[in-house]
Subunit: 525 residues, 2 copies
């Protein structure tokens, strides 16, 4: 029996013969059969979503806030059931992770988005009162499409994650594309989203959900005229194919696709606290079995020539930890491919354990390579190894460090560890500018795997980590602004202005008036 | 003798055999021979521009401000010579226009950008002090490329216009692509830009300029790894080709490409002040011989069935005005092509004069079409007629008006004229939402041809008016933000933070701290 999709408020069978089976990565056991949606299903969702957009276009943001808060409450109430299924589908542990970390993070995001919707934190109201010109961000017309990744079944899920929350906060109905790695979890989430939307009086098609499409249907979806914008988190290959389709017709698409997250250890830091750093780095590498977008994949370590102390220190931590179960077989296959590519490019394995966990698994692996080889073969050596494998680049001197940094591609994060006593400061100053150019978030003395949901967070970065370096997928209100179009009101009669821009500022908002932020009312004309 | 290009601080002959001749559109007289740059020339400019970026990456913004202000002063000083040549190259009048309107607008923009650079108005500093996370916009690394259009020889010129000013204010060297319609003017501007850059102590390659490339070289330019971002104003065909090239490699590109600027006249407005409106609309249509991005190209007028009073009223104004000289032969050819396409789609000419101006010219033309025909043939009838020709769509009732608005494509502007006494208010309310979705700037009772350089201005709009509805080419600081990448600093030691983000706020900036705008210092950690 094939599971239904959620279209226009109803759980309906997909109009398709194609299906896929969800599996437990620990046991290989089947967990249900799901449809691969046809264009007809997608087209129906698009039309219902467009009609829903039209019907909510003048809705007070308090309705979206009510929906988001109620949905968050519902997820908290059903957390145990949802986490239990998510654990089966992803092998991610209940504690610490799904129940005590990812659910609170997800509901916290939804509630932050509710607050931002209510407070209009994302609209950037800008006014030149003398000239009677005012502007703000308003929703790009249409339905938002959100593709969720495999590695965060709630916090980045198309129907509950940060992109979903941002799309709703900006007033958009959403078509969620579940990740096929956790379709059952996504179905449970969508049930709660639908119930919350219904309770909030939102249209039936405010939240819709499909599980999977083929590439052609996916491309047609993101380039459809009824779409406002698409947010995507996932693999680079699929992301670039969607980007090409959306770009060709001028449809905004925001992608978070890949990242090697270079981490630099300067010599003074190694001397001061080498063992401690090795532990910290190894723990970061293994967080979520390495299946984090911000997992440190390339460690550039200033080591004395000929010394393998740092490699051994990290490797011993990895060898001592048990290998976890991966999200699915594709992750395991990807790690094997990266291992082959890195080996062919001159990297050697340092870890000694070949132990695997139950089901889909790969031994915790550290490889090492010389700085010279890294520079020479930087393309294959920067192939993202999504999972519990990392590459240590052993850098004998500062000139080599510069050469390595010069070949780095775009990443979400870059970390620099330096001595507390200032011994590395000159080197830090010499490298920080070029590192900064390649990453969206620069860290000091900290691993990149924590992505706090804060206004100053950037979960973005230069291509190909994302599609555009100006945007972030995490951090409110910036993540919401992605779904906005800039609209200017020129000589529009004051009573006709949106409340956000009215001269007497009825909502009491902070507004950018003649180049100054103020909550004061303004004189018109 | 072929004019030189400006590469790395020197005026050098282009490494090319291909040339083009600039001509006076009034007389057809040749005004100089200019090179079509080869890839080798462009490559040299890119490398010098990249090196210049690297050398200014830590420069204090006051240096860019000094450059912009000094450059503005220089343009004021040399205005008569520059305007004289621009008049020869474009046939745009000296007064009112080049000397008394466009030069002050251009120097005003440069000075506004200088103020924004100094005050960091564009960087959006955002801080979560407790968590030691802060972010801001910083220049996307690389050289900015700016393509100028034919219709504003200064205010949108690649080497002096709003995009240029925005790119410099954000800390970027610029490679300007002159418009081949006014290469000599652009050379004079570039001379002053170079002198100002030299005086400011900026690198020799801070401002570079080429005149023209073929399509393949242009595509290679905007997709080059050394480019930060491209800003383009010009035709849709060329713009879309550049967009495809830049998109394919994830290079940001901001385009302003085309617009029909629908203008709606509701029945009460016509009754109240029909003659006055006809004059206002005709004047707006003829401003710059209709060669404005925001020229009202499609007038949707609620008229009584069978009445041609409104058509006649506008036509009589157009017939009474002399036809101006167009920018070049291509504009004339474009108008003829649009005339043919509109005719084939059912539009009929209303104006009676066939008089042309000196040189490249086209009679002032109004065509009319029924609402039903417009809806049926909306694609050819929305072909942009860039120049002194417009289309009046006669709309007999509100249902027809809705149908017409529903088929409108994306435009920079949309205007609605309604009765002062409130007679049209219900109709206004019924149509404003859908009009708003299609335009970047909504006007009331005002023609769209004035684009004030103000913080709330939006010179942008839905595709295909631009490439992305979230951005504006005019209006500071928003136009500057386009050249920024978001960068987050996570646990970075306070002394290493940019001054803009330091806890004690040494620059006294307004900053977004824990969701509130404040200039207060913050406690770290």
């Amino acid at each position: 029996m094939t599971e239904p999709i959620l279209v226009n408020g109803s759980w309906v069978p997909g109009d398709t013969d194609q299906t896929f089976v969800a599996t437990d990565p620990q046991t290989g056991k089947g967990l249900g059969t799901y449809p691969v949606s046809s264009w007809d299903d997608v087209d129906a969702a698009l039309q219902a979503g467009w009609d829903a957009y039209r019907s909510v276009a003048s809705t007070d943001p308090s309705v979206f806030a009510t929906f988001l808060n109620d949905y968050a409450d519902r997820l908290d109430s059903r957390a145990v059931e949802i986490c239990s299924l998510a654990h089966s589908e992803t092998a991610l542990p209940l504690n610490p992770r799904l129940l005590d970390v990812e659910i609170p993070r997800t509901t916290g995001q939804l509630r932050q988005a509710a607050t931002a919707a209510l407070g209009r934190a994302w609209i950037r109201p800008t006014i030149n009162p003398t000239q009677k010109i005012a502007s703000m961000l308003r929703p790009i017309p249409g339905v938002a499409v959100v593709f969720g990744p495999n590695n965060f079944p709630f916090a980045f899920n198309g129907v509950s994650g940060g992109d979903f929350a941002a799309a709703v906060a900006s007033g958009h109905p959403v078509i969620a594309k579940a990740n096929p790695g956790h379709p059952g979890t996504t179905k449970l989430l969508a049930e709660e989203a639908l119930a919350a939307a219904t309770d909030a009086g939102l249209p039936a098609a405010f939240v819709q959900m499909i599980y999977r499409t083929d590439h052609a249907v996916g491309a047609k979806l993101v380039s459809d005229r009824r779409v406002a914008a698409t947010a995507y988190t996932g693999s680079q290959n699929a992301g670039l194919a969607l980007k090409a389709a959306a770009d060709a017709v001028g449809k905004p698409i925001f992608l978070e696709m890949s990242s090697t997250n270079p981490l630099v250890v300067l010599p003074g830091a190694w001397r001061e606290r080498g063992e401690e750093l090795a532990t910290e780095i190894a723990e970061s590498m293994l967080m979520g079995v390495g299946q984090f977008c911000t997992s440190p994949g390339i460690i550039l370590a200033a080591v004395e020539e000929g010394s393998d102390a740092f490699a051994k220190a990290i490797a011993s931590k990895l060898d001592a930890a048990s290998a976890g179960t991966l999200l699915d077989q594709r992750v395991q296959t990807g790690l094997s491919a990266a291992y082959q590519a890195w080996s062919a490019a001159g990297a050697k394995k340092v870890t000694e354990s070949n132990a695997k966990g139950p089901g889909c698994s790969f031994p915790n692996t550290l490889m090492r390579v010389s700085a010279a080889a890294f520079v020479e073969n930087h393309t294959p050596l920067q192939l993202e190894a999504f999972g519990n494998m990392g590459l240590l680049v052993e850098v004998p001197d500062i000139a080599s460090l510069h050469a390595c940094i010069d070949v780095l591609g775009g990443s979400l994060t870059g970390s620099i560890y330096s001595a507390a006593d200032g011994a590395d400061d000159d080197t830090y100053d010499a490298i920080v500018e070029v590192i900064s150019e390649r990453v969206g978030r620069l860290l000091n003395d900290k691993t990149p795997t924590g992505v706090a949901v804060l206004s100053a967070m950037n979960h973005g970065g230069p291509y190909p980590a994302t599609g555009h370096p100006g945007f972030t997928a995490v951090g409110i209100p910036a993540s919401i602004e992605r779904f906005g179009m800039l609209q200017c009101f020129d000589n529009v009669r004051p009573a006709r202005l949106p409340d956000e821009l009215k001269p007497d500022n009825p909502l009491g908002l902070m507004r950018f008036v003649d180049q100054t932020w103020t909550a004061n009312r303004v004189s018109w004309g």
